[in-house]
Amino acid sequence: MSISREDLERIAELARLEIPAERAESLGRELSAVLTFAEALRRLDLAGLEPSVFAPAGAPMREDEPDGRQLDPARATAAAPESEDGYFIVPPIVDVLEP
């Protein structure tokens, strides 16, 4: 299974990563190698098998009450690269929605 250049660019955009031009080819080959290896799964008999689920079923849900983990604005923004008056500050958001 080989990843095309277009696929690689599309995936990189979805993941918000930039692939330097000089890396594109080798990265494509590395990913293709892993995907080819993953093709081995086609040889397994998976008839009638449901996807695995690990979170225990029927676990009780939370009551609609505060749980003591709330942070105040100072602590919430303490690690922010930029914050002001309790807000997180980012570059200007022009209306670009969704991927």
């Binding site: 599309r10 979805l14 993941a15 918000r16 990563l17 892993v34 993953a38 799964l41 996807p51 303490a78």
Partner: protein, 492 residues
Amino acid sequence: MSAAGLWRLSAAQLAERVRSGEATAAAASESGWEEAARVWERDVHAVVHEGREARATAAAAAPRSGPMAGVPVLVKDNLCTLDYPTTCGSRILAHYRPPYDATVIARLRAAGGVVAGKGNMDEFAMGSSTEYSAYGPTRNPFDLERVPGGSSGGPAAAVAYGLCPLALGSDTGGSVRQPAAFCGVYGLKPTYGRLSRYGLVAFGSSLDQVGLFARHAGDLAMLYAVLAGHDPWDATTRPGPPPDVSSWDAGVEGLRFGWPANLWREGVEPEIVEALEGAAEDLERAGARRVAFDFLPGEYAVATYYLVATAEASSNLARFDGVRYGYRDPAAADVRSLYVRTRSAGFGPEVQRRILLGTYALSAGFYDAYYLTAQRARTRIRHEYAQAFGKCDFLLMPATPTLPFKLGEKTSDPLAMYLSDVFTIGANLAGIPGLSVPRPLSRAGLPRAAQLLGPEDSEGVLLRAGRALEVRGDRSRMSRAHHQEFAWPTRR
């Protein structure tokens, strides 16, 4: 007894000294730093964050009467701690200080444990050698040219050279069991859902478990009992009481162990096979019975693992974007470049590779063929294990196909690195517990290990077998009163 030499004691012995007043918590937690670290840490580089003051504060706060009174524990740097940064071996979290303790850390402290510092790791737990840390590699104390394994290389090495008797790591595909094997210490991956993941920076949500390192089987049991149990803040933890591990020295009389020799017919170094056979003999000497049968080869597991783990990782790592915490590219002038520049500069190449792979496995048009297929293959793998455990109480197999390899040996071939996980990933895919048990060193003085795998909630059985192996099957030395010496690494 003077403070000198406290670092050589087991955790159980150390806690006893502190409870009885013979030693202070401060002395107990500093001993490894004053003695073992002075000899080893500069070369091994197991630790990424530490502080004498932080340790002293933690020691002063530690309950004197707890089961782990005063015991220092090195914590892998992907577990959130209030008193140290949590950087996950990455630039993107450089200097990050979380505003909360992970649940396992809170439980550790409540039991008297002292966080000794943060352990080095492969970035975001992605790697098998700790060479992918943004803060420099960790080296194997048994041979400084070789890797300690990964991704929990720091914690494993620290326990091996004596910085502390216990350490916490995380195991997603073997990241506790493989470094334990490479560093000659015990490494336990619990049943999925038995230790809380709240505060463990997520890599593969359905695969991750906090794992434990120790030099003695009994110490693992003590730590497990303190940490295990349902946590309301982690909805994937199992309700009800965790397995009871208090009879870890009860022996293996009458237990059956599976022997799937087809798995190491090829591709495993002879000295590892030798160690494995020695383990089988020890278990038989202790009264266990060997049951031979074939088992599903590991290549399916590796393929399944790398699709599921990278998919979940690509999702879990989406939150690292320079908005609320961590590194932010200073030149980003708009939101899109904020994301792209921050993430491209902040994540190392292995992490980026896995994010791309995982994104691909989830993307429209490929989801069915990759992620969904892998999750179904996983169910098949669970069934295989369940069937095997119908014939035995636990499985014996290698932890790794090779002895510890040299730094730089596998970093140019990612696929080769992934294939070295072939014996450990099965347990993560099936959600079952696994224990790496140290065996006698190789002829060149390198650590070797055997791995035990059991059905869900069989930690008690695995620790009993681990103890039996600790005393080489000698039933007269099985009880906890009998302490084993540890094969310390020697400076060359």
